[in-house]
């Protein structure tokens, strides 16, 4: 066989191979791992020493085989201070700043914290750092400089969402801690100026589901305005209020009163509990993928304890998005 026919043969094989590649659909493999941050407590105290065999996880009702990745030893926190008029005018700002300082005083050296303020928009004051002292200084400075601004409105949920983007994806437990009076009248991602109740629920579900699906905890330290007065009822009705229910609904979040005498202890206990949490991982089996929201149930086998964990996750439409990498929670 001469060289000429060989080269033709090689070319033909190459062309055939190219043609086959053109004709065949491209398959990509997506490894869709799901991560669940779990807090287990009994009587308010975290339970330690559990193994993967102690947990039962149901994905859309189907039991899954889980692995215990590690304990979430460090925390990644976005500390968000409400500097809007409703806080500044009412003299609540000092209480909220004090609560923020208490939180900072309970951090460990491995924890990272970013500091943001919000009113009509959100502003990053200190990017994620391990230097809690610089955040403390910025917190005090924010108190002294807060003043009404042009067209001042409060976009709290926008701020929560932007803050969540800073703490997601880290190795530790992600926490967004909001210091606020709960009034929101300008958020876009979670509109609180409802024109229609059904529409509001739809919009709210989009954002809350994304937060829940990402396993980000939203805790709230808040000053409650005088309940029961007509003005508050009207204001809440028109502007909406972040209730502790909403916070807890995200992923096991909690609400604290900024004027609670036991706040230092409560915050310390809270961070301890978050650090003592478990990280469970599994690859979904026996359930369809890319079909949207999956409901999760996490419980203990043969043990007592209260579980706080995300209530579901998004399984993205990976088949129609070749560039997507699947839901890596």
């Amino acid at each position: 066989m001469t060289l000429f026919p060989r080269s033709w043969l090689c070319l033909a094989i190459l062309l055939l191979d190219y043609g086959a590649a053109e004709q065949q659909p491209q398959f990509q493999t997506f490894i869709e791992g799901v991560r669940i941050d779990v807090l287990v407590s009994d009587g308010g105290r975290p339970i330690s020493g559990l193994t993967a065999e102690d947990f039962e996880v149901l994905d859309n009702g189907v039991p899954q085989r889980v692995a215990l990745a590690s304990a979430a030893a460090s925390l990644s926190i976005a500390l968000m201070l409400d500097t809007s008029s409703s806080v500044a005018d009412s003299g609540h700002l000092s209480d909220l700043v004090r609560a923020g300082q208490l939180l900072l005083s309970t951090l460990s050296p491995d924890d990272t914290v970013a500091f943001l303020t919000f009113s009509r928009g959100v502003r990053m004051v200190v990017p994620s750092t391990r230097d809690a002292r610089s955040v403390n200084s910025a917190l005090l400075a924010a108190r002294s400089r807060t003043v009404r601004r042009l067209a001042d409105r409060t976009a709290m949920w926008d701020a929560v969402f932007a803050g969540a983007s800073l703490v997601t994806g880290g190795s530790g437990r992600s926490l967004v801690c909001v210091l606020t009076d709960g009034a929101d009248n300008a958020s876009w991602v979670l509109p609180t100026q409802p024109r229609d109740a059904r529409w509001t629920i739809d919009q709210k579900a989009r954002t809350i589901d994304v937060l829940r699906g990402s396993g980000i905890v939203v805790d709230v330290v808040w000053i409650r305005r005088k309940p029961g007065s007509l003005s508050v009822q009207l204001d809440d009705g028109i502007n909406g209020t972040l209730s502790p229910y909403d916070a807890a609904d995200s992923a096991g979040g909690m609400a604290f009163s900024a004027r609670d005498a036991k706040l230092p202890q409560r915050l310390a206990d809270r961070l301890t509990a978050l650090r003592a949490g478990y990280v469970l991982t599994y690859t979904p089996a026996g359930v369809p993928r890319g079909d949207g929201w999956h409901k999760l149930i996490v419980r203990l086998k043969n043990k007592r304890g209260k579980i706080q964990a995300r209530t579901g996750y998004f399984s993205g439409p990976v088949a129609s998005k070749p560039d997507a990498r699947g839901t890596q929670q």
Partner: protein, 413 residues
């Protein structure tokens, strides 16, 4: 010491003597003989009256001296404070400087405007004028919108004293700056002066605008009627917790009708008025007329781009994205949000919407990265001024604020 009963001392001697004598001897004169008593008594009366005059003069002089020195001291302190605030505005955290300056009361602001600032640094004058403008804006809104509050710089019922005094000060400074700029033929300074004059010009006034404002009014009030609100609270081991439940009431159809009529009136006179079409599109969206809404929003986006109207273009893209999202058209929604970002990259809401959409679509990494872009901020300021946050106020307010931001950047360079 005894004064002679005869002979008259010279006036200065008498004065000194009166002061010293009466202080030292008191009623010693009564020991004199009867013949000289009357003369002495008369003399003492004169001395007493002169003494009182002198005391009064001395007291007044002392008060004047102390007052002048104190005033100088206060002026010096205030000047140093003003210099600090001005320097912070030009070179440091401008938002913080405005916040500080906006809290000064009218009297203090008025006093500051009399402090001498030399012509050798015209950009300091420009910066001070801008500082006054921004402080006036902050206080103007407070005066219009809120009653008295603990940290309020305006009196109850919304006094306009503070914004007025800031406005006067800025006008005086800008006049001076104009003279300097013309005298020096400084092109950059003249550009600043020209742009500031444009920013300070009265808002557009035309029949269309009146209708637009009327429509905006009804658009605002077509919102929820509050029928009832139920509030429940409980106490748990985690502290106080509770939930405020409100039920939102009916859609106010009459206002929606009036708003639609007003917007259509505007568009009949000025078909390319993007903001009117934007508001009409938004209104129709809430009236569940999605197809009509989409048509108006697409047109609003086109008109806004043609007119370089950032406010209306950005919001039209944002509203379109939401409409597509509602109808399950994920790809079109993402494209609309990307259009919004392209129109105004310093906004926040378009990044957040796109980020949320990507996360919900399964691309969590890219979604969170996009959401994080919302924190990039604007040049010259750490705060954002997203059009969505001033949608109720309208494009005039947003445009004005944007011009102020640009002028701020100029004086900070």
């Amino acid at each position: 010491m005894v004064l002679p009963s005869s002979g008259r001392p010279s006036a200065p001697v008498l004065t000194r003597g009166l002061l010293t004598l009466d202080l030292l001897v008191g009623d010693t004169g009564s020991k004199r003989d009867m013949a000289g008593t009357d003369t002495l008594t008369l003399s003492r009366r004169r001395r007493c009256s002169r003494e009182m005059v002198l005391w009064a003069l001395t007291t007044v002089t002392a008060v004047v001296v102390v007052h002048v020195r104190t005033a100088n001291l206060v002026a010096a302190l205030e000047q140093s404070h003003l210099v600090q605030v001005l320097d912070q505005y030009r070179r440091g955290d401008a938002d913080a400087a405005v916040a500080t300056f906006a809290l000064w009361d009218a009297k203090r602001v008025d006093a500051e405007t009399r402090l001498p600032i030399g012509d050798d640094d015209p950009w300091a004058i420009a910066a001070l004028a801008m500082l006054h403008v921004e402080a006036a804006l902050v206080n103007d809104l407070a005066a219009r919108s809120w009653p008295a509050a603990p940290r309020d710089t305006v009196s109850p019922k919304g006094s306009r004293a503070v914004p007025n005094v800031h406005s006067r000060a800025s006008i005086v400074l800008m006049q001076r700056l104009g003279e300097i700029a013309r005298g020096r033929q400084d092109s950059r300074l003249l550009e600043f002066y020209r742009r500031s004059a444009v920013a300070g010009a009265p808002n557009r006034v035309s029949p269309e605008d009146d209708s637009l404002w009327n429509g905006r009014f009804h658009e605002h009030w077509m919102g929820p009627e509050i029928c009832c609100g139920g509030i429940s609270f409980s106490t748990s081991t985690a502290g106080e917790s509770g939930r405020i439940e409100s039920s939102h009431g009916r859609f106010v159809r009459s206002h929606a009708f009036e708003a639609e009529k007003a917007f259509r009136d505007v568009l009949s006179q000025q078909p390319t008025f993007a903001e009117a079409r934007l508001r009409l599109g938004r209104l129709l969206y809430f009236l569940d007329r999605a197809e009509d809404s989409e048509r108006e929003l697409v047109r609003a986006l086109k008109d806004a781009r043609a007119a370089n109207d950032v406010f209306s273009g950005y919001l039209a893209a944002l509203f379109l994205g939401q409409l597509h999202e509602d109808r399950g058209r994920t790809k079109q929604a993402a494209e609309s949000y990307e259009t919004g970002i392209a129109i105004f990259p310093s906004g926040q809401s378009a990044y957040l919407s796109l980020g949320r959409l990507l996360i919900a679509s399964g691309d969590a990494d890219k979604g969170w990265r996009t959401a994080r872009s919302a924190l990039a901020g604007q040049p010259g300021s750490n705060t954002t001024f997203d059009p969505w946050y001033v949608y109720p106020a309208g494009s005039i307010v947003w445009e004005y604020a944007r011009q102020v931001q640009e002028l701020r950047v100029m004086v900070r360079q």
